[in-house]
């Protein structure tokens, strides 16, 4: 099998495909041990919430991907608060920041060089 081998590792698409196929077969094998006799459309296939009724989702409810990053946003809230203040929505401000940072980098390069 042809592949790419470098000092950082190896890549071979056929080997990876075979590995994924092997994992899939094992997964289906384990899944086959599960019960198949649940009656669909009855309580037997509903989530168990300590006997409580499953609350219906409000109409139009959409859980956005932002929820995945809630912890990170919350952890960095102090940083985000400060950064939001700088976002004025004025293009002139953004260009000003751009030129300012560019000038700073230029100074660092000249100073350091």
């Amino acid at each position: 099998m042809n592949g790419i081998t470098s000092g950082f590792g190896a890549w071979n698409p056929i080997a990876w495909t075979l590995l994924f196929l092997g994992i899939l077969i094992v997964a289906f094998f384990v899944r086959s041990f599960g019960r198949k006799d649940y009656k669909r459309g009855t309580g037997q296939t509903k989530a168990f919430l300590s006997g409580n009724e499953e609350p219906a989702a409000p109409a139009g409810l959409h859980v956005s991907g932002d929820n995945l990053y809630w912890g990170m946003v919350h952890g960095l809230s102090a940083y985000y608060r400060r950064v939001r203040e700088w976002h004025t929505g004025d293009l002139g401000d953004y260009v000003g920041w751009f030129i300012g940072v560019l000038a700073l980098i230029f100074v660092i390069i000249v100073w350091g060089g």
Binding site: F33, R35, D37, Y38, K39, T42, G43, Q44, K46, F48, S50, G51, N52, E53
Partner: protein, 147 residues
């Protein structure tokens, strides 16, 4: 059609307390301790009725628990057996016709085995579960399909 494979390996039990004083519940826990050790027979408590073969119900049914007990029964896959542990579950006991009691368990869901006592000893509870298995095997043998 015989018993499902999972059933032959082990018997998973879900415990529901519908309003008990905890006396029966403590005896169920005692059946799991090393002195009685029901897990050596493959009998173990499960955390959800969706994985259970047997429902172990304790206490008389209080009104708030009435819809919850019905829902738990519906969520248990077939074939299933219901074992009532204690006198309160069988007849409401000292809570008979109390203002907050919906009735004994067999007025809410079908019951297969009664284990009397206040509370019953762990040996009696184990015997009740074994009787439930026998009943399920009889049902299977007479052609009652799972599912």
């Amino acid at each position: 059609m015989g018993l499902p494979r999972s059933f032959k390996r082990a018997l998973w039990v879900f415990h529901v307390a519908t309003g008990s004083c905890n006396g029966c519940d403590i005896e169920i826990v005692a059946a799991l301790t090393p002195r009685y050790d029901v897990e050596r027979f493959g009998i173990m408590l499960t955390g959800t009725p969706r994985h259970a073969d047997v429902l172990l119900v304790t206490g008389t049914v209080t009104k708030p628990m009435l819809p919850r007990l019905k829902r738990i029964y519906e969520q248990t896959p077939d074939p299933k057996a219901v074992v009532v542990v204690g006198g309160c579950g069988a007849s409401s006991g000292v809570f008979y016709e109390s203002y907050n009691v919906a009735g004994p368990i067999d007025e809410v869901i079908p019951v297969d085995v009664y284990v009397p006592g206040c509370p019953p000893r762990p040996e009696a509870i184990i015997d009740g579960v074994v009787k439930a298995v026998t009943k399920l095997e009889t049902l299977e043998g007479s052609g009652v399909k799972s599912g």
